[in-house]
Symmetry: C2
Subunit: 323 residues, 2 copies
């Protein structure tokens, strides 16, 4: 049985989520209406995922539902915002009930985990693509901006880098390594990245600049450097690489994944040395590691990578949808 647009929305996307006093009108009118609490500002992020560009053709509806939300949560995390609401536009070739059921279940599972309410959107016919806008709140109007890095700031990343890209590589090239558990683990890291929402919110008060690592460390850190008009020295040996990658792959592979491929959705942030004690206290709250990989320099010194003392020649590339 095929459903109309209205039926799809009411069958799959009108769910009883936890109530929110600031939501005056959710799904079902010409627009949603929300109230912003006093002394808060609104953070808005928008991301489109297109089949073949942002996800592989054979992705499961569950993984797509998860990833759609996770990448937008990650954008808000990079501002230090608390995610609150979302709108979804989904374009698909036909209304496939089984697909919609699986997609929407997974979509609401991650929304509910992060206390985010779906307040609007539409469904359309066309090639599969999904646009999500995510709305978050920032108390006292303090945000982690890309433009706030200062000379002398230490540069940190959360978690480890490169595992998501390793998973993408295994999936894309259809490569089977000996240990199937490790293969599945890396693919899961690619398909189900964990947005660093609480970490971003905690860092908001003590860090200066931040960005989430979607396009690889080099391209993403370069945005901070450009916007803050700074340079950086990064020590390759400090980049956190998991034991799984070190044990199973060559260093040129995993460094390339960490530096140039990305999709880790970890945070890269800069912090003044005077706040390091506060950072140590915050670190204790989280299971994930925060690793110092270098420091911010004057713009004249440029963006440099060092392997111990040796300067490495590299290209700033990062992922580009129109390559």
């Amino acid at each position: 049985m095929k459903y109309t647009e209205f039926e799809i929305i009411s069958k799959y996307f009108k769910r009883n989520q936890k109530k929110d006093v600031n939501e005056i009108k959710g799904i079902g009118d010409d627009s949603a209406l929300i109230k912003i609490p006093k002394n808060n500002i609104l953070a808005i992020s928008t991301d489109t995922l297109v089949e073949g560009t942002h996800f592989l053709k054979n992705i499961s509806p569950e993984d797509l539902g998860y990833k759609t939300v996770a990448v937008n949560l990650s954008d808000l995390a990079a501002m230090g915002a608390e995610p609150k609401w979302t709108t979804l536009s989904i374009t698909m070739p036909e209304s496939n009930n089984i697909w919609l059921k699986k997609f929407s279940s997974s979509f609401f599972k991650i929304l509910n985990k992060y206390n985010v309410r779906l307040i609007g959107g539409d469904t359309n016919r066309g090639s599969l693509s999904i646009t999500l806008s995510m709305y978050g709140l920032l108390k006292k109007q303090i945000a982690l901006l890309r433009s706030n890095a200062n000379i002398g700031d230490l540069i940190y990343v959360t978690g480890t880098l490169g595992e998501s890209a390793a998973g993408l590589f295994l999936l894309k090239k259809n490569i089977f390594i000996k240990n199937v558990n490790i293969r599945n683990y890396l693919i899961k890291k690619h398909l189900n990245p964990i947005p660093r929402v609480s970490e971003g919110m905690a860092l908001r008060k003590i860090a200066n600049a931040a960005i989430d690592l979607s396009d690889g460390l080099i391209a993403d850190l370069d945005h901070i450097l450009n916007d803050s008009q700074c340079g950086a020295n990064i020590n390759l040996n400090k980049i956190p690489i998991s034991k799984v990658l070190i044990d199973n792959f060559q260093s040129q592979n995993y460094l390339n994944w960490a530096l140039n491929v990305g999709e880790d959705y970890e945070l890269c942030f800069t912090i003044s040395k005077k706040n390091i004690d506060k950072l140590k206290i915050i670190k204790k709250k989280f299971l994930v590691n925060f690793t110092c990989i270098g420091y911010i320099t004057p713009i004249e010194q440029g963006f440099n990578l060092f392997d111990n003392q040796k300067k490495i020649i590299f290209k700033k590339k990062g992922f580009n949808h129109f390559d």
Copy 2:
């Protein structure tokens, strides 16, 4: 020359628009940041336009840039909100500079006309489709909701209905009528609908329910009736049809266009009889007509169309993307 995603955004979508004190961060960070003035609520509408579904394959980039904005402005108009900000996600097969230049010029022209600032978005590769989210403000938290119609309310529409659908018909079927000026006029009505933004804002204080007419009067009014748990009696002879349509087409054609095809982006609203004097005052401010086409009845009486005294049998269909 092909541009990367970052270059496209900075070349075509970073423009010097009129400043706005409530915009803390626009394009160029992980999310946009906005402040909502005291006693205001935020209205959010999202619409996706997909090639082949919402616009014809041969649409010009200028017309697409205009329409993308107009349909979202129309959603906010139907709430009575003042449009303020927008985010754009554009997916296209390749980065075509001439197309982008024309699209973005037209896009910013209509944004500037309505004082709307672009605060974020992304560009992606894939089949042509555009998702816009539009953000507006409502003072004193009064909005025109679909659910606010009351029994006895008069039902009005702005402007005339059916011309946009006539234009779509001429375009789609490649029909050339004798008078080329009339053909061009109707096609322009289809491609460049005028969102009733000021009208919606003025009606907010005196009307009860409203919706914008995108899917045809029957389907759209039916949303008000369902959400307000009411019926309606509509007099077919009162539906405002332009002289152009009456002089050039059969009545079964233009009534079908008005009732079942839509894309007029006029407002349909309900208003208590006690506010009719206030409506008369408001009407004087606008060039567009407001026409009473019927009234709201108890739900038991259902949704009825009358041709003079004769009840007309009709189907509630409206446009469905998955038909």
